[in-house]
Symmetry: C2
Subunit: 189 residues, 2 copies
């Protein structure tokens, strides 16, 4: 997706060797024009599939999923990281290991909002080690829903998540894949 | 907003005397049609005002603000609750007291994404005690931006937030105000 590559080259900031900050448009400030273009592209990549629901994990996936859902005409459910008064007691739970925080946390979706047999598309901002997606997949599996695919805005091709998920047979569409960010230069696949 | 009242009456669940769960369409599962109607209504309520940016706080405000921003044609910035690798070190900070968790937490917006003189609209899902809005207002004030108004989807009129904010001279537009939920019955103002 050329528009997205241009935006990343123009506004992305590389911190160290593996952090790509795109907080000017994707996960702190939100550029609503580019989010709509991302949503249209996801629709294009998953055309021909029957999709009943989009799921994502809080926080950074929410806006991307909500805007994209307009092109699929389906509801979104975002998995919550904390028990909250807004969440039912009866939930499906996935486990996510955070390498940055070196701890395991849970993500949850109320059993009311994910049903057996539903065709689910997962959307998220980044794919790095794949942990968040695996946690969401656990939730989809517990609900006996069908995981149709995973739409990722930016895949870090130099981390192992994409490989793990593809080898597990998951249908992944990454709008851009960054193969390297060494010496401050972004190389796309 | 009659459509929203109908949706609340149809799908809202009252827990105890003061919790109104609308997680079927507003803050866990997201009904994208109603979010668009909410966005249009906010645009109508704030027509005639110059608005440069919409801000909200994670988590529940994000989807509402992102969808609404399409009608204002402005970017969104959502304040983050935790220090994250996606957040700059240089931030404006607001303090929010959580009555449910009985503790004070901070919300932060990077100084890059809120500028002196910008005209800011705050959007959030609920207005109850007003703490989250006051925390966001602290951030707007620190940035020397102008708070044009606050758009709220559901105000709990039986809690003190609306009164505190209006007495502080803040321009609040609540799409619906719930005056009472006793005995399982929702009374709108």
């Amino acid at each position: 997706m050329e528009l997205l590559k241009d935006k990343i080259l123009e506004q992305g900031r590389i911190i160290g060797n593996d952090i790509l900050k795109v907080d000017s448009f994707l996960n702190h400030q939100l550029d609503i024009y580019i989010l709509n273009e991302i949503g249209k592209e996801f629709k294009k990549r998953f055309r021909g599939y029957k999709i009943d629901k989009i799921i994502t994990a809080e926080v950074s996936g929410i806006a991307i999923a909500a805007i994209a859902a307009q092109y699929f005409n389906v509801p979104v459910v975002f998995a919550r990281k904390s028990q909250s008064k807004n969440l039912d007691m009866e939930t499906y739970e996935g486990e996510v290991f955070s390498y940055t925080k070196d701890k395991l946390y849970k993500i949850r979706i109320s059993k009311r909002y994910l049903n057996s047999g539903e065709n689910v598309l997962i959307i998220d901002d980044f794919l790095a080690n794949g942990q968040a997606i695996l946690g969401l997949k656990q939730i989809v599996d517990q609900a006996k829903a069908n995981l149709v695919g995973v739409g990722i805005v930016i895949e870090k091709g130099f981390q192992e998540g994409g490989k793990i998920l593809r080898e597990a047979g998951i249908n992944i569409e990454s709008l851009v894949i960054v193969d390297s960010m060494s010496k401050g230069q972004i190389i796309f696949r």
